[in-house]
Amino acid sequence: MATIIIDGKTYEIPTGKNLLETCLTLGFDLPYFCWHPALGSVGACRQCAVKVYKDENDTRGRLAMSCMEAVAPNQRISVSDPEARAFREQVIEWLMTNHPHDCAVCDEGGSCHLQDMTVMTGHDYRRFRFKKRTHQNQYLGPFINHEMNRCIQCYRCVRFYKDYAGGHDLDVYASKSNVYFGREEDGILESEFSGNLAEVCPTGVFTDKTLKEHYTRKWDLTMSPSICQHCSIGCNTIAGERYGTLRMIANRFHGKVNGYFLCDRGRFGYEFVNAATRIRQASAGEAVVSLDQLFHHLIPALKQAKMIGIGSPRASLQSNFALKALVGGDNFYHGVSDNEHDLAELAIRILREGSVRTPSTREVEQADAVLILGEDITNTAPILALAVRQAVRQQPGNAADAVNIPVWHDAARRELAQQDKGPLFVTSVHTTKLDEVARDVYHAAPDDIARLGFAIAHRLDPTVPDATDLPEAVALLADRIAQALSAAARPVIISGACCESGCVMKAAANVAWALQKKNPATGLVLTMLECNSLGLAMMGGHRLHAAFNAVMNGHADTVIVMENDLYRHGKADEVDAFLSKCRRVIVLDHLLHKTVSKANVIIPAGTFAESDGTLVNNEGRAQRFFQAYEPTDIIRESWRWLLTLGQQIENNRMATWRNFEDVTLAMDRDEPLLHGVMAASPPSQFRIAGQRIARETHRYSGRTSQQANINVSESKPPEDPDSPLSYTMEGFHGQPPSSLIPYFWAPGWNSVQSVNKYQSEVGGSLRDNDPGVRLLEPKTEGTHAYFVGVPERFRPLEDHLWVVSLHHIFGSEELSAHAPSIAQRIPQAYILLHPADAAALAVETGGVLAFTIDSRSYRLPVKLSEALPVGIAGMPYGIEGVPYADLPEWAIVQRTSQRQNLNDHSYAKRHA
């Protein structure tokens, strides 16, 4: 801590920061552009000038850019000094010389940092009387709109895109007052993180193209704190609605999970909510039915039925718990494949019974050595991959520390580090985008990856069983990795369920446990397939095949499938057989899919935007998401439907449940692993000064006329029985507890940059801590045994291929794939082969490979990759045209000459 005097007042402040961060943390309104809390300082825009005085006697002082000045003890500075203010105003005037006067038609208007800073500095009169420079705009793909004339050349876009996120196709071109930020030529931005440009850009150069399709000003949105539904990381988001449609997803800063950034799947996947294929009415048989008809039809039947329920890893805890309560614990099944089920249980076992803690995503940024076993996290947990890209800067950062280059001095630290990267080791079946920043890359069969993991663990602790007969190169690699991990201060091991191998996860656990004996700071991150995979597994339930058997054996005759397309989790013929054997198939979901098409009763379930719920992310953090708007038609949250059904059929357990909180309380009480989940957010009765927290800003417009085409009387705003948030512009507009922040706004700070005002320290955690509650912590005492059972070396088989899943950020996740912008980025169906295998099988790129897995036939177009191990084939996970298979599994390959005889079992009609 140090003492500093600002405008004559003394403050106690932490050292190691720059003056800008310090002033912002202290609450000063100091304008800035190029500095960003996650990107650090470069000193380009010259906007944040303050007066710095040499000593007590210095009366003149000097202008200094506060982002480039380290805090010094007993320093005296002035923010309000007239010369500093005049300079800051002048910088805006310079920036405005070329900035268009198009705020009224600019997407950024009303949430524009440039507008805010212009007002803040007081610049209001244009003296520049000459022509503005103009630029051509580019087509950048379905996510981001480009409007270069608005550029104020702060360099944030390239610093985020290239330096921070590792993108290659956005750059700065030309020079002087003609610098241009864009791609070499028109084209789709390649980075998985391109959407962040819309928030990183302080003005309207890069804006959200999907928002443009149904544009609404920030102040006109009804906004709620939400959680991303599209992978297991659980990034915090803001969901904004108007006129009953979801308009946009923005980042909701979380100091431990996602920080300032989202991936493009998370930001743009939301449009499934507005899809034309949404289920909006209940139907029984072929007919749409009213609410009364539905209950009339359903209740007597359910009272008689032998019910089972199939839950979902993409549904909230409350919905899964309500289903479990409705059908009874013995009749509750996880709607995931048996392999996925086992992997999720294994993950919980590792995290609970092991000794190693799961670091949060932002802790991973601080890791100084990272080993990834088997996962392609850029595609399965993208924000984690972004964190790993920051982690590789940790070790080179030590050299910068040694010569006193502060952490915030971003350009200088990068200049010193140059191409140096800290130890990152990537092992995976196929190439991953992180390979380019890895020290070593190992592409191998999952079993061989597991063997490497066992070998590393053995080197760290000889009591771990070793993998014998490793090829020399692999043994040396194990040496190097073990050495690097041992030398690190904060090593992190990353693995997970997406590579579909229990052996790999066990090997990862062994490495982490062995390492932890030497270094208690060791972390272990396991990624899961879906947003609530871990939460579902923590709830307990049976395997999917057991559900099939229950019906096939006559133990049950009615199934309630909740928010789940069983055809994504089971083999089509088995699901067909199961569903046709059921007397009654009741499906609750948002979107039409194959399971819905087989249902007798379809019940429209609310999406995350229309629901309250809690998810458990891969870290074991339970996080609440809040309804952004009341659903239209008869759409309800799944848990509310199930609650109603339960009460109508006189389910005793559910008799007293009235609302969301009752369900959550019961779950907190009855589910041992979920105990504590209530603490994820304040209860629904929570009020601040007697007020609810307003989902709408005080500038919300049009309320009295919005519904005037229906009724000239202003309609009553919906009540929210399930949260402390209100559906109006009335209510508390200040800073609520962190989990209840519906939007970031502060006086003078209309843009997302206002998040500064919500943090206990700029760039640090939100005031009163970051949202959510961690439910999984490792054992702190007692011992646990290492996993044994080192797998055999992978050996290719003639006429066989070991088929594994390959994940795609765009396409592998079910819901986001229904967003039109995402759909444009989904690859077409394929099977990936090594060229040697392709040659042996006499197929080429673009040809069709026919094969059987578990006596089911598949036909897919061939793609080739040298990076894939020989004997392995990769099948894209969850992509349209790629039928489900229980992977990993051996495929028997049909020689091309035989393929005409096959009964085509594939949906790959686009290519067949």
Partner: protein, 426 residues
């Protein structure tokens, strides 16, 4: 005793000496002396004592600059000759590069030894084709003679040297932008600290010295610091290659004792003004220095004296303004250059310089307004050192601010004569 060391090896026809010819005239003696008989510390001490000040324009003590390189830092360490001479009106390094390339290489070897640098680069302005050829030949000859490469003169000292020709940006003359450019990045400057001595080329300790500075080194080592100091007429040591351009009778370059007066340069060496023209003012050290006027003709051209007169010695190459040339046009032309060459990184330079240029253009084309002069003056204040990221814009302001000071009437006349247009043009 040698009075004009820097040009002593330059033939009348300007053709560079071969290495053999150069050696016969005493070339490379300083390499032998330094590497065989002196410690790196002793070389540094000699240079520091000589009071050699950087000839690139800033005039920082060379020995002091070197002393910030940690001698024990692990290699690689770099020495770079800044030969990106692109300041308008400055052409002194060109002479040394084209006609005495071995002198530069000799200076670089001794300097690299003093710094224990193992790699040297000559960063050359792209347009200096003749110099590029000469340097390439000289480097090859030096390798052949064993002055470059591994184990030089059997001392165990290694030095690799490369010529890098720039892509034609004035910005690259700024030492940190030069480093970025040499790394293959955009030529934008870097923040200091950290200084290049700590984190320079490729993040390694680096010294960037001007060509003329490096060319002084062999002579300082061969003849001693004391001798070097005595070459000068004033406290600033050595000789200086001065130049004069503009409408004088004999524009050119001359190696003269440091501290020669402006009057001597213009009236004696440059032969005075051309017929019918009279002297109105001069930029003493290249385009980014303040005007000196008739009252300053007897100012000694060394660092403190020119500074005391309100300008900077800069590169020591004088641009003369005569009474028939439009001051506004003169300044606009310079501002146009600086606006063109702005790297576009920081706001005041990127946006301020084009604004100034447009105002000056407007004045010239009859669209000047009353409020233009205060706006120009505002810019000269706000584009000052510290407000911008590097020294480019502050340098650009020097001719403008001094023109407004000494020749304000010229600016006012432009506006007055077109007063009828005031407030009509939009």
């Amino acid at each position: 005793m040698l009075e004009k060391p820097l040009t002593s090896h330059i033939r009348a026809d300007g053709v560079p000496l071969t290495l053999r010819e150069y050696e016969l005239q005493g070339g490379y003696q300083s390499v032998r002396k330094a590497l065989l008989n002196m410690t790196p510390q002793a070389v540094q001490a000699e240079v520091k004592t000589s009071n050699l000040r950087g000839r690139g324009g800033a005039g920082f003590n060379t020995g002091l600059k070197w002393s910030f390189v940690p001698l024990d830092a692990p290699k690689p360490k770099y020495l770079i000759a800044n030969a990106d001479e692109m300041e308008p009106g400055t052409f002194k390094d060109r002479l040394l590069l084209e006609s005495a390339p071995h002198q530069l290489i000799e200076g670089m070897i001794v300097s690299a030894y003093a710094l224990q640098a193992d790699t040297g680069f000559v960063f050359l302005r792209w347009a200096y084709h003749t110099a590029a050829k000469a340097i390439n030949i000289a480097i090859a000859q030096a390798y052949q003679a064993g002055y470059l490469g591994q184990n030089i003169l059997g001392t165990g000292f290694n030095l690799e040297m490369h010529l890098h020709t720039g892509a034609g940006r004035y910005m690259c003359g700024e030492e940190t932008a030069l480093l970025n450019s040499l790394e293959g990045k955009r030529a934008t400057p870097r923040a200091k600290p950290p200084f290049p001595q700590v984190s320079g080329l490729f993040g390694r300790p680096t010294i960037v010295n001007n060509v003329e500075t490096l060319c002084c080194i062999p002579h300082i080592i061969t003849h001693g610091a004391e001798w070097f100091q005595k070459l000068s007429l004033t406290a600033d040591a050595g000789t200086k290659i001065y130049g004069v351009s503009g409408k004088v009778r004999k524009p050119g370059l001359w190696e003269l004792p440091m501290g020669t007066t402006l009057r001597e340069l213009i009236e004696e060496h440059a032969g005075g003004m051309q017929d019918g023209l009279s002297f109105r003012g001069a930029l003493p050290g290249g385009a980014s220095t303040d005007f000196l006027v008739r009252d300053h003709l007897d100012v000694r051209m060394d660092y403190p004296s020119v500074a005391a007169a309100g300008s900077r010695l800069g590169t020591g190459t004088v641009i003369v303004l005569d009474d028939k040339t439009s001051v506004v046009g003169f300044v606009r032309n310079l501002i146009h250059f600086f606006a063109q060459e702005s790297c576009g990184f920081c706001t005041p330079c990127r946006e301020g310089l084009p604004w100034i240029e447009k105002i000056l253009q407007a004045m010239q084309s009859g669209d000047g307004r009353k409020e233009d002069i205060p706006m120009l003056e505002l810019h000269t204040r706000l584009l000052g050192p510290g407000n911008t990221f590097c020294a480019l814009a502050p340098g650009a302001m020097e001719p403008l601010q001094s023109a407004l000071k000494y020749f304000r009437e010229d600016f006012e006349a432009y506006i007055r004569e077109h007063a009828s247009l005031e407030h009509i043009t939009v």
